[in-house]
Amino acid sequence: MTSTISTADPLGARAHARAQAGTVAATQPTIPASSATGLPAGVAPESVLWDETIGAGGYAVRRLPRGARLRITDLDGDGCAGLVVHNARRPEERLNVADTVKLQWNAYLGPGKLLLSDQGRVLLSILADTGGAHDTLCGTATAARNRARYGTGDNFGPAPNGRDRFLLALAKHGLGRRDLPQNVNFFKGVRVEDDGALTFVGDASAPGAHVELRAELDVLVSVVNVPHPLDPRPVYTATPLRCTAWAGPPTPPDDPLRSATPEAGRAFENTDDERLGWERA
């Protein structure tokens, strides 16, 4: 604390404010991003585009260019990364979880899976996944759900709800309630039983587990770290996540994900086709 500095007049208040610089919080962005440490093997510091740690109830939002890699790390193994993604150039195009599961004929996420938009295009692809269980079906909790479970769900309280966190993230890019699609969750999973029942898989990831995503278009990524809506624990629990992004080459024509399935091939073709409207070949 800098309480020894008087804040009775503007000069004192300025000195008091300036004396706070350099404080390190438990969760915050790394500025400049190139000063980030503990990077994945082979990632050059100067290529880092974003590095930010998100604590319990926190959120972050970031534009990332095509080709960027985004690693989300479940630092202590009990986080839940809710994620939505929009096409940064025209954000009315966004993640569509129904199309994501229907077009890939599978409800679960994992390495090689694609996060698809409502326009039949790939927004993010999953290059690596050491986390195991994820979720496409349950979205994130509302203020009402958090009030019922934790007694409070307000963004200004101790148990912020994921929906309002996403709304804040989107609001900073001029987007509103109409622009929030259903999210996916990393590091907390559910399984669908034969009768349709949802079983919470929960904490399947070890400390340091990560997913690595590749931007297939210029994207706007929003991440919240809040308890999964089916997390039965009475205590609001979400350990810190780290988001680290670095520049990378766009997906080459012979990328194995393009030929993994016929549907992936056509989704990538649609993605390439979209870019013809933006850029010279």
Partner: protein, 209 residues
């Protein structure tokens, strides 16, 4: 059983042609019945808080609240803010889909090939249905598919398979608040959701008993 057997006077009765959109405000307490007239006809469905269209059906809220992805009698359709919008008060089909979403020209290209781009699709119907309300693409979210059968296998494999419905099967939806209902009578011809033959459905709105 006529809808009036379980509810009040019939206020509106209409046959939605094959492949067509339909919208209507259903007032709190009124019941909307959707009848699969000829069998195995998927009916894509969204509903919105009529007083605040930014509040709309949420598949996630609905399935989390009941712990199950299938809809049937007793299901409450919940909004993105957790509010009950409509309740399924009767269902002679048995189960309905929450995870398959709507077909679109664009998703059809991924599923079936680029040759399907110009085929009519549910998203086209939803966009047309919402336009008179000043609403559009940003207002589309994952929808209900009445009479559509999407099982999920143990490894997560899922797909739209042959339907469980039959001629005359119906679902009754009681509005819990005033809602705007938007329907696409699904025009899909590339999967079995309509038995490869889109057909008309009947929609009836009746007063509270």
């Amino acid at each position: 059983m006529s809808v009036a057997d379980t509810t009040g006077a019939v206020l509106h009765d209409e046959v939605v042609p094959a492949r067509a959109p339909w919208t209507r405000i259903v007032r709190a307490g009124q019941t909307l019945r959707i009848v699969d007239l000829e069998g195995n006809q998927a009916v894509d469905f969204l509903c919105y808080n009529a007083a605040d269209l930014d509040e709309r059906y949420s598949a996630a809220e609905t399935v989390v609240a009941q712990g199950n992805i299938f809809l049937t009698t007793g299901t409450v359709l919940r909004s993105n803010e957790g509010r009950p919008l409509m309740t399924v008060t009767a269902d002679t089909c048995g189960r309905h889909d929450t995870i398959g979403g709507a077909c679109s020209c664009e998703s059809n290209t991924v599923r079936y090939g680029h040759h399907t781009k110009h085929q009519h699709a549910c998203v086209e119907n939803f966009l047309l249905a919402l336009a008179p309300f000043g609403r559009g693409k940003r207002d589309l979210v994952g929808n209900v598919n009445w009479f559509m059968n999407v099982p999920v296998l143990a490894d997560g494999t899922l797909g739209i398979v042959d339907g469980l419905s039959a001629p005359g099967k119906y679902v009754d939806l009681r509005a819990e608040i005033d809602v705007l209902v938007a329907v696409s009578n699904c025009p899909q011809i590339n999967n079995p959701c309509n038995g490869f033959n889109p057909t008309p459905v009947r929609v009836t709105v009746s007063a509270a008993p």
